[in-house]
Symmetry: C2
Subunit: 244 residues, 2 copies
């Protein structure tokens, strides 16, 4: 790998920065308790998340006009409640439950790692989540972003190349000055096609215990790190600075 | 005034959060020393800033396609250098000098005041500066924004109503849940027309000593504060919480 000149790191968020599954299960249980509903909340969380890709694809293919992720989550919630035979929930309660996605807990290393990375680099989400979602999640979880990039400012969902390219343009940086950080290899490979650098941080527990994906990294990634603290150390080393 | 339910505060930046004039004078002197150029840097700073409104108006009227503020500053720099008979400067040096606007010093109360406001509210710039400019300025000056809003995400310069409205939409908030903070009354009045709350923080030294504008506040403003620390205290009081 040639010398890195990374000015900004941009992050996939759901799964990479935050543990969406445990957080949705936790909030599902709270919702159930408050509304007298019993359900398999693990399965409920997986079903809700399962509609994420297909609903974005409806936007990516033009079947739906631009629709932000809050609205897609809300449409998906309606379907999942029906599938789980949960009825009689008020609009207000459903709208409140939909904000569960604004309250996802960071992985334990995320906040300390982001602070280390932020000392010398711009850090920003490059997520399919909309600005309100990302901003509220950051307030709730203490994520110290410098700005919010991603699907909504580009009006394109990942992995459309416009998402990554718009982020670089808005930072005033060339793609090779920007490093994409993700637990998902497809996201990194799509960012690479636009010219971004890549750092793979596997999150083996993203989909719950016993569902560990194959984490063999594509050999093209610039960095493979155990977590964000490790990423900060490895990036410092590659940039010729002491690891801490 | 009826009870406030402010969830987010959005800020004019040039003049309100940062002291652009002193900062540009300081960096003008550094540029002069490094390049062997003598000039009246006070006048130079005023001339450069003087092209701000007219150049944005060329975009607002459609004479120019969407052009971000970095590019408008760069075009203006070319004109100001010519007016001051400063020649023989390389493209690279001019591009670097143009980044002076990314390195404006906050007023002394700005950073401590923003941290107080951030504890209970979303805080974001609602500036005509582009995302890269605002992000780099925040890194340089320690401004703890939660996200970056403003002209570039709206593709409209203030005081176009689209700028303020887009900011509210992207936060997922109604305009009356958002408070505009500015040292410029026209900015506040324009935000009010869209439905935002308003806080006036006069900055009598913005245009230098001896050029104090009339700071008699329009009676419609929700808050008039001496500085950002005072704003945090007054907002807390209006929201029924202890001032500190």
């Amino acid at each position: 790998m040639c010398a890195l000149e990374v000015k900004a790191l941009v992050f996939d968020v759901f799964g990479t920065v935050v543990d969406w599954r445990s957080s949705i299960i936790r909030q599902g249980k709270e919702f159930g308790k408050a509304n007298g509903v019993e359900a398999d909340w693990d399965a409920f969380a997986d079903a809700w998340r399962g509609k994420y890709g297909p609903s974005m694809n409806r936007v990516r293919t033009g079947e739906l006009p631009w629709t932000n992720l809050d609205a897609l989550h809300r449409m998906a919630l309606e379907e999942v409640l029906a599938e789980f035979n949960i009825t009689g929930i008020s609009e207000e309660t459903k709208a409140e439950f939909n904000l569960a996605w604004h309250k996802l807990d960071p992985w334990p290393d995320s906040v300390p790692g982001l602070w280390r990375l932020k000392a010398k680099h711009i850090i920003a989400p490059m997520s399919n989540g909309n600005i309100a979602l990302m901003t509220n999640m950051a307030k709730n979880g203490g994520l110290p972003w410098d700005c919010i990039l991603g699907a909504e400012v580009a009006r394109h969902y990942k992995p459309d190349p416009e998402t990554y390219q718009t982020g670089c343009d808005l930072l005033g940086l060339a793609p090779n000055q920007v490093m994409m950080v993700a637990a998902h290899q497809r996201d990194l490979l799509s960012a690479q096609e636009v010219g971004l650098r890549s750092a793979f941080v596997p999150r083996p527990l993203e989909r719950g215990p016993g569902r560990t994906p194959d984490a063999t990294p594509d050999p093209s990634f610039d960095i493979v790190a155990d977590d964000f603290v490790d990423l900060a150390a490895k990036l410092n080393m590659l940039e010729g600075q002491p690891a801490d």
